[in-house]
Symmetry: C2
Subunit: 422 residues, 2 copies
């Protein structure tokens, strides 16, 4: 009979994982101290935008909880005395001055440790500051005959169920027994390859480096988009042509980099370097800086566009389309759209924001026509399904010339609009 | 009957292209003003390391010239009066202070223009400063009923024949007629997709950007390799783990970036920016700087390794293995190995260099045992076939402790050596 699987943390990663494991026939217990999250799950109101076989995660989890394949709770207690599997997805949060807050992780450990018994397997999924498993977590767990593994997650938000099944996994463990137990568990869930890492530290580092590489390449895309603008070539066509090369990928430029993974990655690397070391991650730091300047760049383009059309930013009404941290996504953590809204309201701009998938912001209106109505300019910050088509259909409602600042290279120019790309 | 194809420039790109076109049944005329190159071709002494169906390029071209499928010459004259195809592979050379030397390109044009007739098709393959085709070349050619196209090359040296057949091509042209003529020609050579670019400028830019992206990602690999060293994790394993991610590629770190394409790419981009523009390619510039510091970093590691073993660099004999600009390559243009040799000889180090494929350097010796004999340290700068195995076999000849500085993550540590990785 399958072991019970306890998933600690029911967020963007934890909840899809809990559902995925339950779908494989395991009894899952999902734990989160945030009762709002639990209520949203119980009432089919989960906003995380994932789908399994066409079914929204919210509905899927609602049903899995309904028939007790997943039991949810705000505290951890064991269902029975059999050896169990514990999966921890609780994150490490950056705070001020390059410091990090390990308190959520420690709360999970505090909740977990008293309940652990010989034969239990604990798997951490959390993106870690390299060294955390070895220096911080393992000392709290070893000597108790507990099996311990680290298996960082690489799923892209909005593609969780596809990638949970398909993506190869990096797996590090305390010892051979732990590694085999964790590998066996994952083999029971999907046929994806499992790649052994020689230490916790290298697995943690690999995960963070993956995110830094994406961040640096977005920064490069942003830098090259500015060059394309200067040379008066179309950035989207440039990207398509560059990516004709079999060994090159130019990522998409945009209004900044949001979400939890990429913006925080550099900080995890920096935290792994001792203060006494003189080494600097120069390139990664500059990339982060470039990505952080993008919302300001969008505002600068808006200001110029308004000025060219005899308008002032201070008296303008601006429609913000798309609030997700990236296209087709309901996650607004560190979303560039919100950063842009903040910069604009600081400048006295009146905001109307629209996103069909997300409710997160006081300036939000419920329909695209109402959002566009009376706007002096539109900023497309992130796409959602159907948004581009609706915008194009809406053209005849708009009083020309409507200024569109397109950060997603998403719309073609059409009569009556003034298109600026960032 | 097929048109005659004239290939101007018989270097690392031009010569494989000439052979590839001849193999498709075209009569090829190969032109190069460098008579040494022509002599090397005539005497089967071509050092460009490419193979077609197991046959070295030198032998292949020797045979193609022997049976007149390729006719070679140091000046351009037409074989007949039929419309012909002219392929120009002659490059733009960087000179001092960000300036570029277009004289070779102009010499090709000067040679070509008087001979051009209505119906001729001229295809440029050269990596260009964006704007060159439109602003510099086209004005010299248009108005004469000449067809003009630009089709940048993406083949990796050592893989020319595979990639000439397989890689999709970017194709820009003066007009629809030119585009169709060039596309038809390429379709007669290979089934690889042909992607239309909307202008010369964007095609030129795409080509240079492909190289800049590689350069930046090598710089990032170099930065992360230093972090890996600091955190005491194995850089090669880290790379393998990072690349488990389906959307991420960590390139290989190394002793620097050589060859003609990558180191010069940034300069081509910078030259496309007007002096009046305030825009800076900050990230790409920092990446270039990082890659340029790598030979110095290798020397620094050597100095420290020698010091740790009670030796001084000034009295040392150092074996340099591999002189190619990258692994398994006979091209030494801007090779990091040569930069390292220069830095070392400036410091009074005695050099013995070895490369089984290349003859280019006054310090070169003819065998690996002789190269290693008496060396205080070995620096592996680039791999060649069999070199790693030979080095490992040779272990028992060496008087321990032999210091090995491995810039290619190529050797495992073994008894009697002190391994340092850069």
């Amino acid at each position: 009979m399958n072991k019970t699987v306890y998933v600690l943390g029911l967020g963007h990663i934890g909840l899809p994982i809990a559902a995925w494991i339950a779908l494989s026939g395991y009894q899952v217990v999902g734990i989160d101290i945030d009762r709002n999250k639990l209520n949203d799950i119980r009432h089919n109101r989960v906003k995380i935008h994932e789908h399994f076989n066409g079914m929204h995660l919210s509905q899927l989890v609602y049903e899995l909880v309904g028939n007790q394949q997943i039991i949810i709770s705000d505290h951890l207690s064991r269902l029975d005395k059999k050896p169990a599997i514990f999966i921890i997805t609780v994150g490490i949060n950056p705070i001020e001055n390059g410091e990090h807050d390990l308190s959520s992780l420690q709360s999970s450990l505090d909740m977990l440790i008293p309940l652990l018994k010989e034969g239990d397997l604990v798997i951490f999924k959390t993106t870690m500051i390299p060294g955390t498993c070895e220096d911080y977590i393992a000392p709290q767990l070893i000597g108790r005959n507990i099996m311990l593994a680290y298996c960082p997650e690489t799923i892209a938000e909005t593609r969780a169920f596809i990638e949970l099944n398909a993506n190869p996994r990096i797996l590090a463990a305390l010892d051979e027994k732990s590694w085999q137990a964790a590998a066996g568990f994952y083999r029971s869930l999907s046929p994806a390859p499992i790649i052994a890492a020689s230490s916790f530290r290298i697995a943690e580092l690999a995960k963070v480096v993956q995110n830094v590489i994406r961040d640096v390449n977005v920064a490069l895309a942003n830098e090259l988009a500015e060059l394309a603008e200067l040379l008066n070539v179309d950035n989207q066509e440039l990207r398509e042509l560059v990516n004709v090369h079999p060994r090159v990928e130019l990522l998409q430029s945009g209004p900044g980099v949001g979400g939890y993974c990429l913006p925080n990655a550099l900080g995890y690397l920096q935290a792994s370097i001792k203060e006494t070391d003189t080494f600097k991650l120069e390139l990664s730091e500059l990339a982060r800086k470039i990505n952080q300047t993008r919302p300001g760049k969008v505002v600068q383009v808006l200001r110029q566009a308004l000025a060219e059309n005899g308008k002032q930013m201070e008296n303008a009404t601006v429609a913000i389309l798309g609030l997700g941290m990236k296209d087709y996504c309901a996650d607004t953590r560190l979303s560039p759209a919100l950063a842009i809204i903040n910069l604009l309201t600081d400048n006295g701009v009146r905001i109307k924001a629209y996103d069909p998938l997300i409710e997160c912001c006081e300036y939000q209106v419920q329909s695209l026509p109402y959002c566009l109505d009376g706007a002096d300019a539109v900023i497309i910050c992130a796409l959602q399904e159907g948004m581009k088509a609706s915008l194009q259909e809406m053209a005849y409602y708009l009083s020309p010339p409507l200024i569109i600042i397109d950060t997603r290279d998403s719309v073609e120019t059409w009569e009556g609009i003034l298109l600026y790309r960032v």
